[in-house]
């Protein structure tokens, strides 16, 4: 124990004892015999390092953490300061008015229509995408042959890599045709349901936008759900099978309950993408500020598409108004995420011990 390695000598920073003054320089030096003059008198235990990789790394991670906070606060301050003048100038109620005339003279704008369009298109997109995504995820994780699963998984990931502007172009010039035909058919047979009423024109509708959104959300929900399904402990699957479960019963007893929090998280991420998606919707929606349950007539607008369409031509007030609507979108997303957390945490007692 007497021959303590030299590196322990660098350790006396802040340490008790006569030699504390050399602490600052000690980090680099490896001179001298073991410093045994500390209060511990005679103890030869290595001292903790004051300046080393450990504290440096700690500082680095801490700084990164703080940086995130600073950036968020800076963005928030900027957005709010931009938005306030426009909101002051607004002649109408910002929350209930459903039109958007945001310019310096006589600005009248409100978020009613765009929030409605945002939520409606995102919800429809999820209603369409989530069941399909869960089906694909289960197929990939538990049914498909490994080769097919790898290949199909790759295709799904490829779908996620397609830029949204490409989806927008494809939506407005190709996908619109079948959707229009489908809308006409819906209108013909189901016009008594308010969703499918109206006299046209059809095509550039919430339905088209939502379906394009659904395709864009699909890969996110699929690959995340697949991951959690694949993490189901083998022993739980075998427990279900040994009780006489069929494959589907095994999935219901072991896989789905185990993956539930992960699926919720996946759906919420998908919802986040659907709510915030901009360019694809700006290109596919017909842009009208009418609040209606009709999803097949031309029209529809969302917060993000409204910003994309209007920002270029907006003056100061107009820009402030659009930023204000962006803040609303931010709040919606935040609330959605918080609800998701609550859902996940509610059964924490069960999921924690599972981990």
């Amino acid at each position: 124990m007497g021959d303590t390695p030299p590196r322990s000598v660098d350790a006396s920073a802040g340490g008790p004892g006569a030699h504390s003054t050399r602490a600052a320089g000690a980090a680099a030096s490896s001179d001298g015999p073991t410093d045994n003059n500390g209060r511990g008198g005679g103890s030869s235990l290595p001292r903790a390092k004051a300046f080393g990789a450990e504290p440096a790394f700690r500082g680095l991670t801490q700084a990164s953490g703080i940086m995130v906070l600073v950036i968020i606060v800076a963005i928030a301050v900027f957005l709010i300061s931009e938005a306030i003048p426009a909101l002051r100038a607004n002649q109408e109620n910002f929350f209930t008015f459903n039109e958007w005339h945001a310019q310096s003279s006589d600005p009248r704008f409100g978020i009613a229509a765009i929030v409605f369009g945002t939520v409606l298109s995102a919800v429809i997109a999820l209603v369409v995408a989530v069941p399909i995504a869960l089906g694909i995820a289960l197929f990939l994780s538990h049914y498909a042959h490994r080769r097919i699963a790898t290949w199909l998984g790759f295709v799904i990931d490829l779908l996620a890599a397609v830029p949204s502007v490409v989806f927008g172009l494809w939506g407005r010039s190709v996908f619109i045709e079948p959707v229009r035909d489908f809308s006409v058919w819906l209108n013909h047979y189901f016009s008594w349901i308010p969703l499918f009423g109206g006299n046209g024109p059809f095509g550039n509708s919430i339905l088209l936008g939502s379906l394009v959104l659904a395709i864009m959300v699909l890969p996110i929900v699929t690959s995340l759900s697949r991951e959690v399904f694949m993490q189901t402990p083998k022993q739980n699957e075998e427990a279900a099978l040994a009780l006489g479960a069929t494959k589907w019963e095994m999935v219901r007893t072991a896989v789905l309950p185990y993956g539930r929090p992960g699926v919720i998280a996946a759906v919420m991420l998908g919802l986040g993408r659907a709510l915030g998606e901009t360019i694809a919707l700006a290109m596919t929606l017909g842009s009208s500020f009418i609040i209606t349950a009709n999803v097949i007539q031309n029209g529809g607008v969302t917060i993000a598409s409204n910003i994309a369409n209007g920002f270029g031509e907006a003056d100061d007030i107009g820009r402030g108004a659009l930023i204000a609507s962006g803040l609303v979108l931010f709040t919606i997303t935040l609330v959605v995420n918080m609800i998701a957390r609550v859902i996940i945490y509610r059964r924490r007692e069960f999921t924690d011990v599972a981990a």
């Binding site: 402990p233 022993q235 040994a242 009780l243 479960a245 019963e249 069960f350 011990v353 599972a354």
Partner: protein, 258 residues
């Protein structure tokens, strides 16, 4: 309530690897049979082929005949889920369903069989938990997660889950290897008690355990790594541990091999 298990020329494979070869064994109803042998000798593989869990693994298959009271469970017209309901299994590591409460764990098998009446489920849960010597410890917290129990309690919960569906045979794959001595003793007492109702086949690495709980013992072994495991000797437990007829068995039991 208990049936005879008979294996004739059973071979089991993992892909092209033959894990066990020509196993012939008859297990009488309401007895405890211990399968012992060195690691990799195929005793767990054989156990898993008795309730057709072996074939769950990719590329795994079984050849030969395995009968449950004269009915071949590998007959192609037999419903594999029905086989597993008749032949329950307890695994090496306690594996209660993590998202389910104690109560839901016990009745999980019954629910899979379509039993949904609350009163029936409650009665069955209490009966199974009592049989598994667990009722007194959990009766006040049936709605708490099953995974929150201690390891020994979890394993008894898994036994309760297995016997809740009233199987004919209960297979146990080293059920105590992850447990402390006191929990092990509790499980051994339980095995002794369950013998009145079920045919029990247990894989164990613990020879004292085999000697304590079983009526008959089957010794499996392999010549060398890569060879298939074979049944070397199968006899009354007392005979195996006092006066085995095969030298290899004696070597293993006295610790000179394996």
């Amino acid at each position: 309530m208990a049936k005879r298990v008979e294996a004739t020329n059973v071979n089991a494979y993992y892909g092209s690897f033959k894990a066990i070869e020509d196993v012939n064994i008859v297990v009488e109803p309401k007895t405890v049979t211990a399968l012992i042998g060195p690691s990799g000798c195929g005793k767990s593989t054989f156990l898993r082929s008795i309730n057709r869990m072996h074939e769950v693994l990719p590329n795994a298959r079984v050849e030969g005949t395995l009968t449950l009271d004269q009915e071949n469970i590998y007959d192609k017209h037999v419903d594999v889920t029905a086989v597993r309901r008749l032949i329950g299994m307890v695994f090496q590591r306690p594996n209660p369903f993590p998202t389910m409460s104690i109560f839901d764990n016990v009745v999980a098998g019954l629910k899979l069989n379509g039993v949904n009446k609350k009163a029936v489920l409650q009665e069955a849960a209490e009966k199974s938990l009592r049989s598994a010597n667990l009722w007194d410890e959990v009766k006040d917290r049936l709605d708490k997660p099953g995974a929150g129990l201690s390891g020994g309690q979890q394993q008894r919960l898994c036994i309760a889950r297995t016997i809740a569906v009233e199987p004919q045979v209960v297979l146990m794959d080293e059920p105590c290897s992850a447990l402390d001595p006191i929990s092990t003793l509790a499980i051994e007492d339980l095995i002794f008690k369950l013998k009145d109702r079920f045919t029990i086949i247990i894989v164990t690495h613990n020879m004292q355990q085999a000697a304590r709980v079983s009526d008959r013992t089957a010794f499996f072994s392999i010549e060398r790594t890569g060879d298939p495991g074979r049944l070397i000797e199968y006899d009354d437990t007392q005979k195996i541990f006092s006066n085995p007829s095969v030298k290899k068995t004696e070597d293993y039991i006295t610790g000179r091999f394996g």
